[in-house]
Amino acid sequence: MLALLKTVVARDLRLAMRRQADIVSALFFFIIVVSLFPLGVGPEPDLLRRLAPGVFWVAALLATMLSLPRLFADDFRDGTLEQLALTPQPLAVAVFGKTLAHWLSSGLPLTLLSPLIGMQFDLPGDAVWTLVLALAIGTPALSAIGAIGAALTLGLRGGGVLLSLLVLPLYIPVLIFGAGAVDATAGGIAAQAHLSVLAALSLGGLFFAPWATAAALRIALE
């Protein structure tokens, strides 16, 4: 079981690396989307500082979501998914592995980059740290929940947009508590409570989502 997990993670990471541009581009997408907002809204520093937490989390949501359609689609099209479904181990294990790899190549780099962008928006130091922490804790939930959506829309043409339709509403709690944490710190309140909720969402997501995802995948394969 662990061996399967390791193979799946290693393979998906290798694929991400092979598509070189992948990780870098997910990052830059995040940066660019975040930079679009000042261009749309105007350059006043005060306004931007207020916007920052919300903008960051929305961008993180979108960056994660953008890479979701490919999570299973390639494996589905070329028949690998059938093969995974036919291994003796439960499909959920493989799904968990793919979720993990997805987070490692989307959520993690984005988290590591966020302090830099925090500075662009002139956030105070402790708010920047809360931002990093919140992203680190919250983004796994995005990958886990996203996987369900990706599995449900698998093989449906026009899946990309449909996927976002399904997934974004589910992302809203993460968005609210994630942005809330940063807001709280910036406002001088402890972000403890927000972060705990985020952690609960992530753990719950990582635990339950793979089963739902596996079930959805089996349906797609029928």
Binding site: L39, G42, P43, Q120
Partner: protein, 250 residues
Amino acid sequence: MNNGLLNWFKFASPQSFYPLAGKMIPWFWALAAVLGAAGLYIGFFVAPTDAQQGEGYRIIFLHVPAAWMSMFIYLVMAFWAAIGLIYKTRLSGMMASALAPTGALLTFLALWTGAFWGKPMWGAWWVWDARLTSELILFFLYIGFIALQAAIDDPRRADKAGAILALVGAVNIPIIYFSVKWWNTLHQGASVSLSKSPSMATTMLWGMLLCALAFWMYSIAVALMRVRSIILERERGTEWVRQRLTSAAR
């Protein structure tokens, strides 16, 4: 005229350009070193203290050359890309890909030194000023070009795709620049603005010009080094590379 064109194409062949570049590189390094030393000496030891900014302004001797070169290199890159598309010379594409990383690095330096200047002068690492923003976008354009070429592993295809992108980008840069400028001035004026002294001290100007020339020479030297690697990589199967590398010289 025809003859001249033929001559030109002779040097445009990777085979004859490779040794030529090898001979030119040391000269450009020497020029870069001399000009850089002179410029920095003037900048850091001769130029007087600025009335408003104190010593902090000395960042200008790195910042402005980096900013100028970052924009200039993009134009040169687009130029080579266009030549490559029109005349189908192999070398042009290689030149464009050799320039891109250097351009991106200089853009990065302009951003970095700008940020390190902005913090003491404006109290913020970053403000959404027109010039800053368009430099950031230029950085994205470079990264996009590099990422696109990295994603294509057939070099000829990478060259052509990159060329199209570089040209589209070159058309867009002025549009972007002016739109960003307009954007900024239409809103309430930026809360901070550059405190440019109307007439820069001539020593300052000299220091800056020398540094800019040094950056220029540096860029050429580095680009030539990179283009040599690229030529070798792409022509590794050919007879001239075989001969060159099996004979003692490198």
